[in-house]
């Protein structure tokens, strides 16, 4: 079931005019911000399908930038988000893509600064609910509705067991988990959605594991 909570239906409280094109876009931007961990210095946003055709009218552009500034769906600053971002020095580019994607409301978000960059593909599936389907070239499924961690690791035996072992020791239940890799034996990623927030100490433990390269948290 895609929708689990009644508040996916009666909600979110948001700035208009569109739950999929405004609130959903803000949420995609906010997930990207959360994964990046800081305000990016530049952002290149590609819109596909209905997003590409109607983003100006729906405020999809301002909402997505609002998300990159860490604004929630109901934050009235969303309306002025592009000006706010430009004032703080963010370079922004929007691209209207012609390509047909599986979902009509798709956005590709490429953000970065001199420390690094991040690329993410999000879809807005209706009523403000989103899914992140790709991160830095990895395919994944992330609802954004539960605390989740992303673990980048070497594709070696025992790497997955080592991570889940620590979560088990800490009595953290895994609700949803996916693993993917670019090539056999190279870099791989685990997407783990859990029932409770994972504290910084546990994250440190995970990061110290052999074969684990990076651990990123998304707080509920």
């Amino acid at each position: 079931m895609k929708y689990k909570s009644v508040f996916d239906i009666i909600g979110p409280v948001m700035i208009g005019p569109s739950s999929s094109h405004t609130a959903g876009a803000a949420r995609i931007g906010r997930v990207a911000r959360s994964l990046f961990g800081r305000e990016p210095k530049w952002a290149t946003i590609s819109f596909y399908g209905s997003f590409a055709k109607t983003y100006k009218g729906h405020g999809t552009d301002v909402a997505l930038i609002g998300g990159l500034l860490d604004f929630d769906t109901f934050d009235e600053r969303i309306i002025e988000a592009i000006e706010i971002a430009k004032k703080s020095g963010m370079k922004i580019m929007f691209i209207e893509e012609e390509a047909i994607t599986d979902h009509p409301n798709t956005a590709r978000v490429l953000i970065g600064d001199d420390q690094g960059e991040l690329e993410l593909v999000g879809i807005s599936i209706g009523g403000g609910k989103i899914e992140i389907i790709e991160l830095n070239g990895f395919e994944l499924k992330l609802s954004g509705h539960h605390p989740a961690i992303l673990v980048v690791h070497n594709d070696r035996h025992g790497a997955i067991a080592a991570v889940t072992n620590i979560l088990a020791q800490e009595k953290i239940n895994i609700g949803h988990m996916e693993v993917s890799r670019k090539e056999k034996g190279k870099m791989a990623m685990m997407t783990i959605e859990v029932d409770h927030n994972i504290g910084d100490e546990i994250l440190k433990k995970l990061e110290q594991l052999p074969n684990v390269l990076q651990v990123t948290k998304i707080v509920d």
Partner: protein, 295 residues
């Protein structure tokens, strides 16, 4: 956990519970939140809806200038007392319009189930409020009943205009509202499902064709008629009228119709009313694009 309307009605009937109660119980179970927390969260959403209606019936204007002020016109018309249809239904229509006018003006609303269809559920709720005098708790329950039916639609079909057309947005919202009105008026869970089925049947095939891609034309007036549709269907169900096609099958039909809709009619601003000469003219005016430069 209920997966479809038949299970929802069966569960409510066998346990002698209201659909709103089942939704509250399921929410608490799935999220691990207490019943009090779940109720408090919905109460906050109700407050947002109230504020949006209050703001809208005082009069707002969208940035494009396409919508705003119709809720005011209708409220004044009701006050004059010379209306033809009925006070409650017109009140529902004006409050649905009020909410969507606020949404179009980038105001704060609560998506039910989406922002483009956010007027129907609160519009009908605040209109039947003056007729049935519900307690605050009953008004919160109204939203859980609406949410339960929307939950089924979202999981078995779609609530996105880009995926399923306006039938998936205003159609779903109207069905949700009709079911919730029936429960508030004292109808049975089965009657709630009949009201939802009757409403949605009359929304099948409705395309999403917003002029200039804005959630304004025809969205605001579709919310108006969605509210009217819900009110009439609720009365029909309370009168004992049933739908020959069961609610779950209507939802399934809606899903399949949505899948076969061309992309031009699914929130791309390329077909339907958006592609009319006036629609194109408005689009050119709003975005400052000469008509001959348009694709």
């Amino acid at each position: 956990m209920f997966r479809n309307v038949a299970e929802l009605v069966e569960l409510a009937t066998s346990k002698n519970k209201k659909i709103s109660d089942l939704m509250i119980e399921q929410e608490a179970e799935v999220t691990g939140r207490s019943r009090e927390d779940v109720l408090a969260m919905m109460d906050r959403n109700l407050t947002v809806m109230e504020q949006a209606v209050e703001r809208g019936i005082k009069g707002v204007k969208s940035h494009s200038g396409l919508t705003g002020g119709d809720a005011v016109l209708l409220q004044k018309y009701i006050e004059k007392g010379s209306f033809l249809s009925g006070e409650t239904i017109l009140d529902a229509v004006s409050k649905a319009v009020a909410t969507n006018e606020v949404n179009a003006a980038m105001g704060t609303i609560c998506a039910t189930p989406t922002a483009g269809s956010a007027g129907v559920v609160p519009g009908t709720l605040f209109a039947v409020k003056s007729k049935l005098n519900p307690t605050r708790e009953q008004m919160v329950s109204f939203l859980f009943t609406a949410g339960a039916f929307g939950f089924v639609v979202a999981n078995n079909a779609s609530i996105s205009g880009a995926a399923g057309g306006c039938q998936a947005e205003v159609g779903s919202a109207s069905g949700m509202a009709a079911a919730a009105i029936v429960e508030l008026a004292g109808g049975t869970p089965a009657q709630c499902a009949e009201a939802m089925a009757i409403t949605l049947k009359n929304m099948l095939g409705l395309v999403c064709d917003p002029v200039a891609g804005l959630v304004e034309v025809p969205c605001v007036k579709r919310n108006a008629m969605g509210a009217a549709n819900a009110m009439v269907a609720a009365d029909m169900a309370l009168a004992g009228i049933t739908s020959r096609i069961p609610c779950d099958e209507v939802i399934d039909a809606m899903y399949k119709i949505g899948q076969s809709m061309p992309s031009a009619l699914r929130e791309t601003g390329q077909g339907g009313l958006a592609a009319t000469p006036t629609g194109r003219e408005l689009e050119a005016k709003i975005f400052g694009i000469p008509l001959d430069k348009r694709e």
